[in-house]
């Protein structure tokens, strides 16, 4: 990449320009949004001075906060359930042979490519056909469907890179299969489990369609609340909320990447 010629250092390569352009393209809108969340004027065309009033307004908006609470609760529950099921699924698929395994494997990743609206309608029709009343739990169940796939996918890529002899060694040395799983396999998988969880957490927070079809009993997730307000005009308190969410998601994503990176390093070191 780096040329030995000293002058070449000062001439930006096309790769650099392309990279910068891509970053500007992706992140400039986010920066503009963050910038205007501090604008005293409710209109983004004019700068009315620095103000934190939209943040104050957002934090005193009870409906918004209760929607945030619902969203967080749904995401936490869905991710917790998916983490357990997804890990078992990934390990099971990698370790065992059973008839229909290929089919199961293909189907387990389907939620990644099926459009949200199809999952949403199918889930609702299914729930209606069993006469299950819609509630927070139905949203959680619907979110588990796609969270499992993401978590299992992340874990299965990690599994292929694992040294299988470690688990066998544990068994040879007298560990029960349960002990080998908990003490040897699980710690090795932990970075993948955590980054899979964070990934699906963010996706669950983001989901509008599946939530709006499966929510009931007073459950309102944040995206549902925001989109319902668009009709009566969106105020910069939504900008403020977006900034808080972007920061939150950014920290989560960064943590996920960091944990994965550490895990890879540890594995390489061994």
């Amino acid at each position: 990449m780096t040329s030995p010629h000293p002058l070449a250092k000062f001439r930006p390569s096309w790769q650099l320009i392309l990279t910068l352009l891509m970053f500007v393209f992706m992140y400039l809108p986010v920066l503009v949004l963050a910038f205007f969340s501090f604008n005293a004027s409710p209109f983004s065309a004019g700068w009315g001075g620095f103000s934190l009033k939209w943040y104050a307004k957002m934090f005193s908006d009870e409906r918004m906060l209760s929607a945030l609470q619902d969203s967080l609760l749904v995401a936490f529950l869905a991710v917790m359930i998916s983490a357990v099921l997804g890990t078992l699924m990934a390990v099971g698929l990698a370790r065992y042979k059973f008839p229909g395994k290929g089919l199961y494997q293909g189907m387990s990743y389907l939620p990644l490519i099926i459009p949200d609206i199809a999952i949403a309608v199918a889930t609702l029709v299914f729930l209606a056909s069993l006469a299950i009343p819609l509630s927070l739990w139905t949203v959680v169940a619907a979110h588990v469907v796609f969270c499992i796939s993401y978590i299992a996918l992340v874990i299965s890529t990690r599994l292929t890179g694992l040294n299988q002899h470690l688990e066998e060694a544990a068994l040879d040395l007298g560990a029960t299969p349960q002990q080998a799983f908990i003490k040897v396999l699980l710690p090795q998988l932990m970075p993948a489990i955590i980054s899979g969880c964070l990934l699906s957490f963010v996706l669950s927070m983001d989901d509008l369609l599946i939530s709006s079809f499966t929510a009931g009993g007073g459950t309102t997730t944040l995206p549902m609340e925001i989109f319902s307000r668009v009709r009566t005009g969106v105020k910069p308190d939504i900008n403020a909320l977006s900034v808080v969410l972007i920061l939150g998601s950014g920290i989560l994503a960064f943590a996920a990447e960091y944990i994965r990176f550490k895990g890879d390093q540890q594995q390489l070191g061994k």
């Binding site: 609702l124 069993l130 509008l208 079809f213 319902s228 005009g233």
Partner: protein, 387 residues
């Protein structure tokens, strides 16, 4: 996938008899479950959406006498309203919200609406839901103050005689303009064509086929929901003349630009127009004298409603002039009820932008279903916006 390693045989070979019977059990129960689900499916969906019988066995959710499930826009629900209703009637309200009429309809049709006793569809959606036989007729005697409705909403075109719906709030679609630059007051749609040169590149229209074609039809003296191909073509030709002067077709992108003065005139919903007026006193929202479109949000009781009594109590409570005036004043929506109107704050009540004079209101029209002509509208719209 990892290569098959010795431990595989350990697991799969452990007890072939047990795993075979377990597999068989799983297969059988899987088949049984899916069979049960599929038969249930056909039955419940059939009864749940299209010919929803009130005795449907599936209407189990949210039934209890003391809970009312409401499906609404976020705007019409606030915690104070829910609390005071509960205090007054002892009925607990559980509110769910939707973000578009289409989402709401899809959810109801997929069978997810059985718990709701109150829904707030917009005008055209009332017609659509009535066609699908999803609504139960409103018993006017149980709706106090029904006779106080303004003449316009006694029998609106989307629901003749308010058979299935009670109008709750309304607004118009008009023009916002900058009075500092456009000193001569804008009074009618013809202003756009008469002052094409001055407005060139400084005006926007809504990104909505029916609204834009509708006002052009109005300016030609036709109904905004005309189905006559000749009238629609005439409207298209008239719009094509205006096209070079239009900066863009946008539903909310104009607000920032008109406030700072980059735009002179925008086609806008009254809510947004009044909002823009509040942030820049030089702006003025007008309802053109040949009439604008008017939209209405209504309250309906779905056929499958589990708690009809509570639904009527909710209607009585929310359309009660004092309650409605508080909600609508916050939203800057207009009310179809004469008594509510009197209770609105003076600056809203006497704002011709919100409540147009009767003579103008008489000329305003709801966008009605144009069924067969929809394709024609869409074709001209594509020609107009892509040309």
């Amino acid at each position: 996938m990892p290569p098959v390693h010795p431990s595989d045989s350990r697991f799969s070979g452990r007890s072939p008899r047990l795993s075979a019977s377990r597999r068989r059990f799983l297969q059988l129960s899987g088949a049984a479950l899916s069979g049960a689900v599929l038969t249930n499916c056909a039955r419940n969906i059939g009864s749940g959406s299209t010919d929803a019988s009130p005795a449907s066995p599936a209407s189990s959710s949210g039934g209890g006498d003391n809970t009312l499930h409401v499906y609404s826009w976020s705007a019409y629900i606030d915690d104070d309203l829910l609390k005071s209703f509960e205090q007054e009637t002892g009925i607990k309200v559980v509110a769910d919200i939707y973000d578009s009429n289409e989402t709401m309809l899809a959810k109801i049709q997929a069978g997810g609406g059985k718990q709701y006793s109150i829904i707030y569809p917009s005008d055209y959606m009332v017609g659509q839901m009535a066609e699908l036989n999803l609504l139960s007729p409103i018993d006017k005697e149980r709706v106090p103050g029904y006779s106080d409705l303004l003449a316009q909403w006694k029998s609106p075109s989307y629901d003749v005689d308010n058979k299935d719906s009670i109008p709750y709030a309304w607004g118009t679609t008009g023009l916002v303009y900058n009075t500092e630059v456009l000193t001569k007051p804008v009074t009618d749609w013809s202003y756009l064509w008469d002052n094409k040169k001055q407005l060139s590149g400084k005006m926007t229209l809504l990104n909505d086929v029916r609204e834009v074609m509708g006002f052009t039809l109005k300016s030609l003296g036709f109904s905004n929901s005309s189905k006559d191909p000749k009238q629609i073509e005439a409207a298209y030709k008239k719009l094509a003349q205006l096209k070079p002067a239009i900066s863009s077709f946008t539903t909310d992108g104009w607000r920032d630009q008109i406030v700072v003065g980059d735009l002179l005139l925008s086609h806008a919903y009254s809510v947004d127009g009044i909002d823009a007026m509040a942030s820049n006193p030089k702006l003025q929202y007008v309802i053109p004298s040949s009439g604008a479109t008017v939209w209405t949000d209504t309250i309906v009781i779905p056929k499958a409603a589990p708690n009809v009594d509570a639904a009527y109590k909710w209607i009585a409570y929310t359309i009660n002039p004092e309650t409605a005036a508080t909600v609508l004043a916050r939203l800057k929506f207009a009310t179809p009820n004469r008594k509510t109107l009197e209770l609105l704050p003076k600056e809203l009540r006497e704002n011709p932008a919100l409540i147009p004079p009767d003579a103008v209101l008489k000329k305003c029209e709801v966008l009605a279903n144009v069924d067969t002509a929809t394709d024609l509208y869409d074709r001209y719209w594509t020609q107009l916006t892509s040309g």
